[in-house]
Amino acid sequence: MSEAIKKVAMEVSDEVAIQITDMNKWYGDFHVLKDINITVNRGERIVVCGPSGSGKSTLIRCINRLEVHQRGKIVVDGTELTSDLKNIDKIRSEVGMCFQHFNLFPHLTILENCTLAPIWVRKTPKKEAEEIAMHFLEKVKIPEQALKYPGQLSGGQQQRVAIARSLCMKPRIMLFDEPTSALDPEMIAEVLDTMVELAEEGMTMIVVTHEMGFARKVANRVIFMDQGQIVEQNEPEEFFNNPKSERTQLFLSQILGH
C-alpha cells in the first residue's frame, strides 16, 4: 500500500454531534456492548470495523434506537435518547440510515420511496418532495430509474436509492451498516463513490464497513471493536500502519490478507 491515497479534505467542527457515555447493552444474559464511550463531532467520518458478532451493528442501531440500550447515555444533536417517543421520532428524522440489505419498500416506486418520509413525517408538499427526491436521485446518478420499482434495479442501484431516500430527509448524520457487503464487486465501487461524495460535502457519517480503502480515504477515525468493546481507535494512517493491540493486528492481517 505505497501509492498515495487522496484523502478527502475535512472540516471537523467543535460541535458535538453524537455523545455516547458508558453505554451498555444486553440481549438477555448476553452482554453485547460493554462501556462504550464515543464522541463524534460534526463533520467527522468514523469507520467502525471488527470481527463478525463484535457488536458493530448493535452499536450504530442504538444511535437511532432501533435497539434500546440499558445503561449509559446517548445524546444525538443535543437530544438524549430515552423512551420518550417524541425524542425518538425527532432523532430518527434527523439521522439517516442505510442497511446492508437496502430495505427499500418494494411496493413503492423509487420516487415514492424517496418522497414518503418527507411527505408524511416532514409534511412537505408532494410537489416539493418530488423535486427534492429528483435532486438526490440525480446526485446518486439514477434519476432515470425514478418510476421503476426496487425489484427492477440492481443491488448497487438499490443501495444508491436507499442513500438518496435517507438524504431526502435532510439528515445531519448518516449511519451505514455494511452498505456494500451484500453487493457484487463491480457494484461496490459505485456505492462507495456516492458515499465519498457525501463525505466531501461534510456529512457526519458513521460507517460500519470492511472496505479498508474507503476507510483510508474518507475516515478521520477508525474504531475497532471486538466482543462488545472498543479495543482501539485512531486515525486511519496510524490505525493501519501501526496498530497497537494484538487483536487489531490479528484482525488487520486477516482482512488485508497478509
Binding site: N64, H101, H107
Partner: protein, 426 residues
C-alpha cells in the same frame, strides 16, 4: 473487408410450420398425447366426460320450463328429466324472499348502487372522490331496504359528522386524546338520546318515507348478499386491527386479541348463530327487540374477522424485519408505518387467503337457514314442502349453486386481477 458472396442478401419469407407442429394439433400432442400413459389417461377422461355430459344434458334439456308443478311434469309425456318449472315460478321468491312485490325496485336499486359503491374500492382507476359515495352507501342502502323515514339514517350519519367536527375543532386546541374522546362521547350521546327524537321531529316537518319492510320478510339471494357484503365490509377492518393487536407490545391488547381470535376459531359458526338467535335475547334488556338479521350480521362479522386476523398475521410474519426497521429509521410513527409500509405489503401477500376467507363467508351465509332465516337454502326447504313442488331437488340446488358461483367466481377472478396488478418485482 472480405467479400462474402455466399451470404444471402434478402430474407426468405416466413413459412408455415409443418402440419402437426402448430396450433391445435401441436397443443394436443404436447398436452394430451405426449406419451403412452398420458394418452391413455386422456382417452379415459374424455370417455368419462362424454358419458357424464350426455346424461346431464339428456336430463337437463327438457321442455318443462312452463309447467306449474311436479305433477304436471310427471304427466307430460315429453318431460323425462328435469322439472324446471319451479325456477320461473319461484324465481321472485328465491331472489327477494317475501319482500313486497311493489317495493322490490328498492332492492334492485340498492344492488346497482352497491356495484357503484364497490367499484372505487376495487379499482383505483375510478376517481378517488367516488369513495365518498362508497362511505354514504351503507346509509342509503339501509334506508332503501328497510324503509321508514330517511331522517333515521341521516341522524345516524350526523353522529359521525358530530364526532368528526369535534375532533377537528378540539385536536389543535386540546390535543388528540381530548379531541377524540370528546368526539366519540358526543357522538354516543347523540345516537343514544338525540338521534331518534331529532329524526322524528324533522320527519314531522319534511316527511320523506318509504314503506317499512320487516327483516323477516327479507329473504332469498337478497338476504345472502346483505349478510355476505356487510360481513365482508365490516370484518376486513376488524380483522386487520385484530392482527395488529395480536402483535402489539401492549400486554392487555395482545391478550384480548389472542383470546378473542382463539375463542371464535374454537367455536363452530352454527353455535354462534344459535347464540345470536336465542341467547342474546336473554342478555338484552326486556322489551328491546334487537333485529335478528342485525345479530346475525354481527356474529358473521366477528367470525370472519377472527379468521381474517390470522390470515393477515401470516402476511405480517412474512415481511422481513428490515421493512419495519427502514420505516422506523425514517421517523415514521407506528400507525404511519403500518398504514404506508407494512399493511400494503402484508395485505398483498395475504390476498389469496383473504379472498378465500370471504368466499367461505359468503357461502356460509346459507347456514342462517338453520335459525329460521329465509335465505335461498331456507326457501328451498320451504318450497320443497309445498304440495306443487314436493320431491323436487336437483333443479333448485343447481340454480342455487349457479347463483352463488357467479358471486364467488367473480371474487376469485378479482383476487387474481389484484395480485397481477400489485406485482412489482421482476
Amino acid at each position: 473487408m472480405t467479400d462474402h458472396s455466399f451470404v444471402r442478401t434478402e430474407m426468405l419469407p416466413e413459412q408455415p410450420a409443418p402440419l402437426g407442429e402448430t396450433g391445435i394439433l401441436l397443443w394436443l400432442k404436447t398436452n394430451m398425447f405426449s406419451g403412452i400413459a398420458n394418452s391413455i389417461a386422456s382417452v379415459v377422461t374424455i370417455v368419462i366426460i362424454y358419458i357424464l355430459a350426455k346424461e346431464i344434458i339428456l336430463w337437463g334439456y327438457q321442455p318443462s320450463w312452463g309447467l306449474g308443478s311436479v305433477r304436471a311434469c310427471f304427466d307430460d309425456p315429453n318431460v323425462t328429466g328435469a322439472c324446471w318449472g319451479v325456477i320461473p315460478e319461484r324465481f321472485n321468491q328465491l331472489m327477494y324472499g317475501f319482500y313486497p312485490k311493489d317495493e322490490q325496485w328498492r332492492i334492485n336499486l340498492s344492488f346497482f348502487l352497491m356495484v357503484a359503491a364497490i367499484a372505487p374500492v376495487l379499482f383505483n382507476k375510478i376517481p378517488r372522490k367516488a369513495i365518498y359515495f362508497s362511505l354514504l352507501y351503507p346509509f342509503i342502502a339501509f334506508w332503501l331496504i328497510w324503509g321508514d323515514s330517511i331522517w333515521g339514517p341521516i341522524a345516524a350519519l350526523a353522529g359521525f359528522a358530530i364526532a368528526y367536527g369535534a375532533i377537528r375543532v378540539l385536536n389543535p386546541v386540546a390535543g388528540a386524546i381530548v379531541g377524540i374522546t370528546t368526539g366519540v362521547l358526543l357522538a354516543l350521546v347523540w345516537w343514544l338520546f338525540a338521534a331518534v327524537p331529532a329524526s322524528v321531529i324533522v320527519n314531522g316537518v319534511i316527511p320523506i318515507e318509504l314503506e317499512v319492510v320487516q327483516s323477516r320478510n327479507i329473504g332469498g339471494l337478497t338476504l345472502s348478499v346483505i349478510i355476505g357484503i356487510s360481513g365482508i365490509a365490516l370484518s376486513f377492518p376488524i380483522g386487520v386491527i385484530l392482527a395488529l393487536g395480536r402483535q402489539s407490545d401492549m400486554f392487555i391488547v395482545k391478550v384480548l386479541c389472542v383470546g378473542f381470535i382463539e375463542f371464535i376459531r374454537g367455536v363452530p359458526l352454527i353455535t354462534l348463530l344459535f347464540v345470536a338467535s336465542i341467547l342474546l335475547n336473554y342478555f338484552l334488556p326486556p322489551g328491546t327487540s334487537f333485529d335478528l338479521l342485525l345479530r346475525v350480521v354481527i356474529v358473521v362479522t366477528l367470525f370472519s374477522a377472527a379468521y381474517l386476523a390470522e390470515v393477515v398475521r401470516g402476511g405480517l410474519a412474512a415481511l422481513p424485519t428490515g421493512q419495519y426497521e427502514a420505516a422506523d429509521a425514517l421517523g415514521l410513527d407506528y400507525w404511519k408505518s403500518m398504514r404506508l409500509i407494512i399493511m400494503p405489503q402484508a395485505l398483498k401477500i395475504s390476498i389469496p387467503g383473504i379472498v378465500s376467507n370471504f368466499i367461505g363467508l359468503f357461502k356460509d351465509t346459507t347456514l342462517v337457514s338453520i335459525i329460521g332465516l329465509l335465505d335461498p337454502v331456507g326457501l328451498i326447504n320451504a318450497i320443497r314442502g309445498t304440495a306443487e313442488w314436493k320431491g323436487i331437488l336437483w333443479e333448485l340446488y343447481i340454480f342455487l349453486a349457479l347463483m352463488f358461483w357467479i358471486f364467488t367466481f367473480a371474487m376469485s377472478r378479482y383476487s387474481m386481477y389484484l395480485e397481477r396488478k400489485l406485482k412489482t418485482g421482476h
